[in-house]
C-alpha cells in the first residue's frame, strides 16, 4: 500500500541556516507526493507537490523539495530558515481515487 515515513519527530535549526525535513515513500507505480504545513491552531496548508518532471520542485514561502527515485525520498528544504517557519510539516502520498495518506509529521523549530 502507498505510504510515507517521516523519520524525525523534531528538527531544530538556527535562523539563517539551511533546513531539511525528511520524507521517504513506498508506492507502486509513479508517486504523487505532497508537503503540507500546519501553523499553530490552524488547518493544514499546501506547500508543494511532485507529479512528474523536474526532480526539484519549488513551492510556497521559499520551500523546495527534491524527489529522489533511487532513494525513494522526497525531502523538504529551504536555503535559509526563518523563525516564522517553525511549524508542523507533513509529507503525503496520493493513494488511488484522490485520497492523500499523510506521514506522522515533523515539528520544525527555528531558533533566533
Amino acid at each position: 500500500a502507498q505510504s510515507v515515513a517521516q523519520p524525525e519527530d523534531q528538527v531544530n535549526v538556527a535562523e539563517g541556516n539551511p533546513l531539511t525535513v525528511k520524507c521517504t515513500y513506498s508506492v507502486s507505480g509513479n508517486p504523487y507526493l505532497f508537503w503540507y504545513v500546519q501553523y499553530p491552531n490552524r488547518g493544514l496548508q499546501f506547500l508543494l507537490k511532485y507529479i512528474t518532471g523536474d526532480n526539484l520542485v519549488k513551492g510556497s514561502y521559499g520551500f523546495e523539495a527534491e524527489f529522489n527515485k533511487s532513494q525513494t525520498s522526497f525531502h523538504l528544504k529551504k536555503p535559509s530558515a526563518l523563525v516564522s517557519d517553525s511549524a508542523l510539516y507533513f509529507c503525503a502520498v496520493r493513494r488511488n481515487t484522490d485520497k492523500l495518506i499523510f506521514g506522522t509529521g515533523t515539528r520544525l523549530q527555528v531558533f533566533p
Binding site: 519527530d9 505532497f34 488547518g43 496548508q45 507533513f90 485520497k99 492523500l100 499523510f102
Partner: protein
C-alpha cells in the same frame, strides 16, 4: 479566497452522546474528506466522499459515519462518542483528478469526557 469552514473550533461532549461535526466548502469541490489528527500518529483518513450521497471508508472508519446530502456540506457523525475519540478533526476538500491540492478547515478539537 477559498474556504473550508468547520462549525466548531472546540467541542466538549459526554461519553455515549451522538456528535455531529459539520463542514462546508465554497469551492464547488467534488471531493471531501474527514481526517483525525493525533500526536505521533499524524493524520488518519476516516471517510471520503467523491460526490453527493457517495461515501467511502478510509483507514479508521470504526465508530464513525458520514452524510453528504449537498455538494458543499460533509458531516461526520459519532453515533455514541467514546473517550478514545477525543482528537482534532480536520475536514478537507479538493477537485477530482488527484493532482490538485487539498484545502483544509481550521479543525475541531473534540473532547469526550
Amino acid at each position: 479566497d477559498v474556504k473550508v469552514t468547520q462549525s466548531s473550533r472546540y467541542l466538549v461532549k459526554r461519553t455515549g452522546e451522538k456528535v455531529f461535526l459539520e463542514c462546508v466548502q465554497d469551492m464547488d469541490h467534488e471531493n471531501m474528506f474527514w481526517y483525525r489528527q493525533d500526536p505521533g500518529l499524524g493524520l488518519r483518513l476516516i471517510y471520503f466522499s467523491y460526490d453527493v450521497k457517495m461515501k467511502e471508508k478510509g483507514d479508521i472508519p470504526e465508530g464513525y459515519s458520514v452524510s453528504r446530502e449537498k455538494k458543499e456540506r460533509f458531516s461526520l457523525i459519532l453515533e455514541s462518542a467514546s473517550t478514545n475519540q477525543t482528537s482534532m478533526y480536520l475536514c478537507a476538500s479538493s477537485t477530482q483528478g488527484g493532482n490538485e491540492k487539498l484545502f483544509f478547515g481550521s479543525g475541531t478539537q473534540l473532547s469526550v469526557l
